[in-house]
């Protein structure tokens, strides 16, 4: 069965989708689980931005990074340290988050973009772990293993709305707006000239270069956008959670497991599709929370499941959930 989809119906679908997202908080206001549900959705949206960031670099430009946590983590640290030591406005620190992640990303790119395929993947792993260890050891600046507490910001008055950062409802709309902006920019980027050139680099770097594509520059461009997204996601995460640390274990902003989350979100949702990361992140955060909270047969069961899901997706559904829907049902019309 092929549905085929026109631009107009797609626009309609997207508008409806966005309206639904805006209406979720009032809709669940009456349930006793509202704070818990909102918490999960907020995390899912922050992770969706992070997953999209990975997707731009890996899914579109073909640079499969296994150390993507380094961008989220340095972004989170930039914001957290500025808020903690200098009591800066969290909004302003998000700019620092993006800037810090971009600087990190450029350094990462300069070191690794001459490498191909798995050499690149291994180098990103090593780079990210090296940065984590440096942040851990440099306790004079980063507070080391103690981590950084991020105090809740003062309420802000924005166009007459009072945004209270203690409220999950405020956070829901903040992250929603960021996510919509990030996805819109991704859509625009991937449909532009650069999106096409990214894909040519992903498909074959030698062939792309033979057609005049400056592959190093293009990869750096993808890194720039990717890092900005990941950095902002990190800044939001630090301020929302109120505490970050450089632990290796799952949950740390610089933990390799955080990098893995980006990978799971991108691969399960569908690499190289704009919608994929939302689906991937709902699966990752939603299913992860479900497994942890309700089927907690033993510690580690959630990660076990995600490991198995990644294996299964690579073997059975190499284009991911949205990739499959897009290819089989919508004839590649949406992406």
């Amino acid at each position: 069965m092929k549905l085929g989809i026109t631009d107009r119906s797609r626009l309609l679908l997207e508008t409806v989708g966005i309206i639904v997202l805006f209406l979720i908080p009032p809709a669940i206001y009456a349930t006793p689980y509202r704070l818990y549900l909102l918490h999960i959705l907020i995390l899912a949206m922050i992770y969706a931005v992070f997953g999209q960031s990975w997707n731009i670099l890996a899914g579109y430009a073909g640079q499969v990074s296994l150390g993507h946590e380094v961008l989220l983590g340095t972004g989170a640290y930039a914001s957290a340290l500025l808020v903690y030591f200098y009591h800066m406005d969290p909004w302003l620190t998000l700019i620092a988050s993006a800037a810090m992640a971009i600087v990190t990303g450029m350094a990462l790119g300069a070191v690794t973009f001459k490498l191909r395929g798995f050499y690149f993947a291994l180098a990103t792993l090593a780079f990210a772990e090296m940065v984590r260890l440096i942040i851990l050891a440099w306790s004079g600046v980063t507070r080391g293993a103690e981590g950084v507490p991020v105090p809740v910001p003062q309420p802000v008055n924005m166009f007459g709305f009072i945004i209270d950062f203690k409220s999950k409802f405020s956070w829901y709309y903040i992250t929603l707006v960021f996510m919509i902006i990030a996805f819109y920019l991704t859509y625009k980027l991937t449909r532009s000239k650069y999106g096409l050139l990214f894909r040519s680099v992903r498909e074959d770097e030698d062939a792309a270069a033979s057609l005049g594509v400056n592959t190093f520059k293009l990869k750096m461009l993808a890194m720039l956008v990717s890092a900005a997204f990941a950095g902002i996601a990190g800044g939001l995460y630090a301020n929302y959670m109120g505490y970050i640390d450089p632990a290796w274990e799952a949950g740390g902003v610089l933990s390799p497991f955080t990098g893995l989350d980006a990978l799971v979100i991108g691969i399960v949702g569908g690499m190289g599709t704009v919608i994929g990361p939302i689906i991937g992140s709902l699966v990752r955060v939603g299913l992860g929370e479900y497994l942890r909270a309700y089927i907690g047969v033993a510690a580690g069961f959630d990660i076990f499941t995600f490991g198995a899901i990644v294996v299964a997706v690579v073997l059975v559904l190499p284009t991911g959930i949205w990739g499959y829907i897009d290819e089989k049902l919508l004839r590649g019309g949406v992406g």
């Binding site: 499969v64 296994l66 070191v111 690794t112 001459k114 490498l115 191909r116 395929g117 798995f118 050499y119 993947a121 291994l122 180098a123 792993l125 090593a126 780079f127 772990e129 090296m130 260890l133 440096i134 851990l136 050891a137 290796w248 390799p256 893995l260 990978l263 691969i267 047969v297 033993a298 510690a299 580690g300 069961f301 959630d302 990660i303 076990f304 995600f306 490991g307 198995a308 899901i309 990644v310 294996v311 690579v314 073997l315 190499p318």
Partner: protein, 297 residues
């Protein structure tokens, strides 16, 4: 600050320790290099097979009272057998174009690695455990250099196993067939070599060696479910330094990393000693993307 005298006083035992550590790393890493050399599969779950080897030694000792060194062949045999189902998992990827196959193997084995480590966590909990053995923490000295008994024993066994592997690959018919497949699978197939069988065999040997290395590691190091995740990157660094696919190169790579780490802890806290290995790795990749001794096995 350290004085030069202190550094010089610490150096000799650091160097010996580094060489011993390198020998141990080499055993775990060599299977990784072989699997890549023969099949072009990047096995990110390799460290987890070493982890399983550690637990095999642990269980054999605590349940059946088997002395740790006798568990080495068992570790090897069990994970050799696990090579068959693991191969079944990886094999569908061989139908994809080479570059895509390598990328998917990275992701697939990463997933497998997490499943193995968290599976181990479900069975053994995330507690740090120790395999009680007479060598742990015992020291002796030769010519004024203090040596750790555990690492000395481990190194001796590592060298023996390495020589056996080398002999197997160079002298035996099957070993030659495996090398032929790693150099040119098409030509090997034309010569009547059963390429599929060699793939499975090298997968089994690779995983078996990882587990054997893990069993050795358990004589001198704590075991916990995620130890494999911490090992695997180091093992890859060693392989890349030695030239992925090269058997002798792995040994040199392992010595470089073993020495770098053991000397680094004179100057920096042990908790961040891996920084040195990562920095060497990134530095060398920048200069020579094909590894230090890029070559064939």
């Amino acid at each position: 600050m350290l004085s030069l005298e202190m550094v010089l006083a610490l150096l000799p035992s650091s160097i010996v320790y580094g060489i011993f550590l390198g020998g141990l790393y080499a055993i775990i890493a060599v299977g990784l290099s072989m699997i890549f050399g023969v099949m072009k599969v990047i096995n990110l779950a390799h460290g987890d097979f070493a982890m399983l080897g550690m637990y095999i030694t642990f269980w054999l000792l605590t349940i059946f009272g088997v002395p740790p060194l006798l568990s080495l062949p068992v570790s090897f045999a069990v994970m050799f057998a696990v090579g068959f189902p693991f191969m079944w998992l990886v094999k569908p990827l061989f139908k994809r174009p080479l570059e895509e196959m390598i990328n998917s193997s990275v992701i697939l084995t990463y997933g497998a690695s997490l499943a193995l480590a968290s599976g181990a966590q479900m069975i053994w909990t995330s507690n740090f455990r120790r395999v009680p053995n007479p060598y742990w923490g015992t020291t002796f000295s030769i010519g004024g250099i203090g040596l750790d008994m555990g690492y000395t024993v481990v190194f001796m066994f590592a060298v023996i196993v390495y020589l056996m592997l080398y002999f197997f690959l160079i002298r035996t018919k099957v070993g030659k067939a495996i090398r032929a497949v790693s150099q040119d699978p098409d030509a090997a197939a034309l010569m009547g070599i059963d390429v599929d069988r060699m793939h499975t065999l090298s997968m089994g040997i690779g995983l078996g060696l990882a587990a054997l290395g893990g069993s050795l590691l358990s004589l001198v190091y704590y075991l916990y479910p995620w130890v494999g995740e911490q090992l695997v990157l180091l093992m890859f660094i060693i392989c890349v330094l030695g030239g992925l696919g090269s058997i002798l190169g792995v040994f040199y790579g392992a010595l470089i990393i073993g020495l770098a780490e053991s000397i680094a802890v004179i100057f920096i806290p042990a908790s961040i000693k891996d920084v040195v290995a990562y920095a060497i790795f990134l530095g060398i990749l920048l200069i020579r993307p094909q590894g230090l001794l890029g070559g064939k096995m």
